[in-house]
């Protein structure tokens, strides 16, 4: 039964199409369907980031003199401020972690193959934007650790000949990391990256609806019927159970392990010992550390950066390179994925030793 207002709105907005689509939508059920839940987990953490981000921005002050102090104020003075910051910081880690899991599940199950190439590519962009959020957000508390991490991170592009220095300048707002960098990073974090992530999320989700969810390799080729459950309400209710579980873990961690805040960064002070980026950059950090100063006639870091760029490009074009029919297993791709995972894990552990 539609009320008057509902049909009035529907005539103008046509939302019954969308509702109809959601009512019809089904989700395949099989022994790998647990991976389908990672997407909505990412959305959950993203929503938390948006909400806690709105709250933090009420008190945060993106200037050289004010940044560290304003974060300290959030942590000590503002009622429940420490929980809000802690949740923002933990949910960021969770979001990135789930982005990685989501991506690896796609990679290992080869779901990016025809026709879902663009879904994968928009996903790679989403990964980049998510990492951008993490990287820019790390600087905002403006303590010694975050300053050194930003100096290194923004200097990496400058190893690329010709264009590199300009990229570094663009990121830093000048030759060096200064108060301008802080203000710029704040701008990236709260206005530029959000625009990109919303557009990309829109494209990504649209493509998933248009092209459908992928099935495990074994089932995809065969014509036999895979069990399906309705998206609404069955699947959504299951997702909600997962969300509640994740929220419980998130809040527990946030309450018992709030992030630290060191004294304000001093632009002229020597880098403190034991500087580390966020955990999801550790494998890159360790890679830079072990590259020697010179390899043949090249600077070690230039070579490292080129290798990273190349890896990124190959990664982006994975669906174009691996365009086998969907029912093929793709062992080599699986092995490459496992090698990449092993490399990242080993490097991360090494950097923590």
């Amino acid at each position: 039964m539609k009320t008057g207002i509902q049909s009035w709105l529907d005539e103008r907005l046509g939302f019954s199409n969308i509702l109809g689509f959601l009512k019809e939508k089904t989700v395949p059920q099989h022994k790998h369907s647990i991976w389908y839940y990672t997407g909505s987990a990412i959305l959950l953490f993203f929503t938390i980031q948006v909400i806690t981000g709105f709250m933090l921005v009420f008190y945060y002050n993106p200037t050289l003199d004010g940044a560290n102090e304003s974060v300290a104020r959030i942590m000590t003075e503002i009622p429940l401020g420490w929980i809000i910051r802690s949740v923002h910081s933990w949910a960021a880690s969770f979001m990135i972690a789930f982005v990685f899991i989501h991506l690896l599940s796609t990679w290992l199950s080869k779901s990016y193959r025809n026709p879902r190439e663009l879904t994968w590519m928009s996903g790679v962009f989403l990964l980049a934007v998510s990492l951008g959020f993490g990287f820019t957000g790390y600087l905002l508390p403006w303590d010694d650790l975050s300053l050194s991490a930003t100096k290194v991170g923004t200097d990496i592009p400058s190893s690329i000949p010709l264009v590199g220095v300009w990229v570094t300048k663009l990121l830093r707002g000048g030759e060096d990391v200064t108060g301008d960098t802080l203000t710029r990073f704040f701008g990236f974090h709260v206005s530029i990256l959000p625009v990109f992530i919303f557009i990309l999320l829109g494209v990504h989700i649209y493509l998933i609806q248009k092209l459908g969810m992928s099935l495990p390799l074994a089932a995809e080729g065969k014509k036999e019927k895979v069990r399906e459950i309705p998206f609404w309400p069955n699947f959504v209710f299951r997702e909600m159970v997962v969300w509640l579980l994740l929220l419980g873990i998130l809040f527990s961690l946030a309450i018992f392990f709030p992030p630290s805040l060191d004294k304000a960064a001093d632009l002229m002070a020597a880098a403190p010992e034991g500087i580390k980026p966020e955990w999801y950059f550790l494998f890159l950090f360790q890679t830079l550390k072990i590259f020697p100063a010179k390899i043949l006639f090249l600077n070690g870091d230039t070579l490292a950066v080129f290798l990273m760029l190349l890896a990124g490009i190959l990664f982006f074009f994975l669906p174009i390179m691996d365009n086998k029919p969907t029912e093929r297993k793709g062992r080599i791709i699986t092995i490459i994925a496992l090698v990449v995972i092993a490399y990242a894990v080993v490097m991360t552990i090494w950097s923590l030793l």
Partner: protein
């Protein structure tokens, strides 16, 4: 001489004209945007410090000064002369520190090492620390950008 056939049609000509015009318009919008996002360079040509602040330094010790937006390091040698460096690592730009007991500069970011003259001797740094030129004129300590003189690369 008159060509029998024109080399392109009127349509192509107009499209080219329109496209070129749109491109030029776009470029004229992009130019100020790009100009705006890159602020002017702030590296100074020279800084003038009061020599009095540095006269009492012990041999084999360092003192910081401001080199534009970078830390500068003034080091007193054993023979009483001075060396000046830009105190940022040539690897990926972290600020270095001087470890007097080991007579080495150290970068904590990726374990980079330089000897007491700023030569890169260990870890990832690809080049020696940047040297600056010092001159003392009366009460002024004048530090200038280096000319051609640089510590030899390892």
């Amino acid at each position: 001489m008159k060509l029998k056939h024109s080399l392109f049609t009127r349509r192509q000509f107009l499209n080219g004209l329109l496209g070129g015009w749109l491109g030029a318009l776009l470029a004229s919008f992009l130019y100020p945007v790009i100009k705006f996002v890159f602020p002017p360079t702030r590296e100074p040509d020279q800084v003038i410090l009061a020599f009095a602040d540095f006269r009492d330094m012990k041999p084999n010790s360092v003192k910081n000064f401001l080199w534009g937006t970078k830390p500068g390091i003034l080091k007193k040698q054993d023979d009483g002369s001075y060396l000046a460096f830009v105190g940022v690592c040539t690897h990926l730009d972290c600020n270095v520190s001087y470890l007097a007991d080991q007579r080495k500069f150290f970068c904590a970011c990726h374990d980079g090492w330089y000897d007491e003259n700023g030569r890169n001797i260990g870890g990832p740094p690809p080049k020696p620390l940047r040297r600056l030129v010092i001159s003392i004129e009366g009460e002024d300590l004048i530090i200038k950008r280096e000319g051609e003189e640089r510590v030899e690369d390892q």
